[in-house]
């Protein structure tokens, strides 16, 4: 037999394997997305009188520069804030036209009439730390979300969060217009009325 060198390994398919891996990584990795608390700022208007609000429909939350809370003139811990906000929003103390037929609150006449009218006023001064501010914002949004979840569960059997996720997802098979209507209905029941005053100058 004639002398013959060892046969070469066929490397033609190597490129295919590399491409396969490339495509695999492209498909599976997701670029990390940021998440945050969405807010809408009020537009700048000409000086005008603020609309008249009844004292009992306003829930004032003050944050000082040390991160201490003053809620309705009483000091409060952050962990109790959510519950206090829920109690205020869900009070439903109004009568006649202002009555709230879905509220489950205490119906205290000295607290809010109706969630539609209830306003939470968040005030801070210029030396308040940003993290304290975000913590309070988060708790207040949590209070709204909990109430919305409760009503969504009662009316439609799913939580508000699930409804919003379904609305955003591409794979939702149901009727999107109807879903949008339902989301709006829940939003109208507990509108997020979070008013933020310009921070006060620190008085020393």
């Amino acid at each position: 037999m004639a002398r013959r060198s060892a046969p070469e390994v066929n490397a033609g398919s190597m490129a295919d394997i590399a491409f396969l891996l490339l495509i695999f990584f492209l498909v599976t990795t997701t670029i990390e997305t940021d998440s945050g608390i969405n807010r809408k700022l009020p537009p700048i208007q000409d000086e005008q009188d603020p609309p008249p609000l009844k004292e009992r429909n306003i829930f004032i939350v003050l944050i000082n520069s040390n991160g201490n809370l003053l809620v309705e003139d009483e000091p409060m811990d952050l962990k109790n804030l959510k519950q206090a906000a829920i109690q205020f929003l869900d009070n439903g103390g109004g009568k006649g036209d202002e009555a709230c037929n879905y509220c489950k609150g205490a119906k205290d006449p000295s607290s809010s009439d109706n969630p539609v009218k209830a306003v939470i006023s968040l005030q801070n001064n210029r030396l308040t730390k940003y993290s304290d501010y975000i913590a309070v914002q988060n708790e207040l949004v949590a209070a709204y979300n909990e109430l919305r979840d409760r009503e969504a569960k009662r009316l439609f059997g799913v939580t508000f969060q699930e409804m919003e996720e379904a609305f955003k997802s591409e794979s939702y098979t149901g009727d999107k217009d109807k879903l949008k209507e339902r989301i709006q209905q829940i939003k109208d029941m507990y509108p997020q009325k979070l008013s933020e005053a310009e921070p006060k100058r620190t008085s020393r």
Binding site: A6, F25, I31, S35, I37, R39, I134, N145
Partner: protein, 160 residues
Amino acid sequence: MSKFKKKKSGDIPAISTASLPDIVFMLLFFFMVVTVMRDTSIKVKNRLPYADQVEKLEKKDLIMYIYAGEPSDRYQSVAGTEARVQLNDKYASLKDIKQFVFEERQDTREELKQALIAGLKVDKETNMGLVSDIKTELREAEALKITYITKKGAALKNLE
């Protein structure tokens, strides 16, 4: 018998290097996929606060990032220690925010201009004074949709 003789004699065949480029390409692709490219280098401290009532920000190209906080350690000798605003790649003053919003709007397609969101990446030790100044500027620029970008976690973690 002759089979054994053949192996002992003869040159050692050269190792084929034909597949080497492919291996290199594979590594290249791997690193390309794994690394996350950062479009701006952050020159301020950026320890975000925690929150759990968050929504995911889907469309990254529709977010105008505004950074604020103390300058990072390596820039403190030049920029001082007072909290600053950063737009794109450089420190900016509050007055530049309007111009920044305007430029971002110009770069966006007409039908998406309403969907632009200002994403605030603010260090947690920053005072609210600066943040509300930024908000006032944004209101004047009519960029009313904002989002406070946070890490995921219970709000009580902020107090630690």
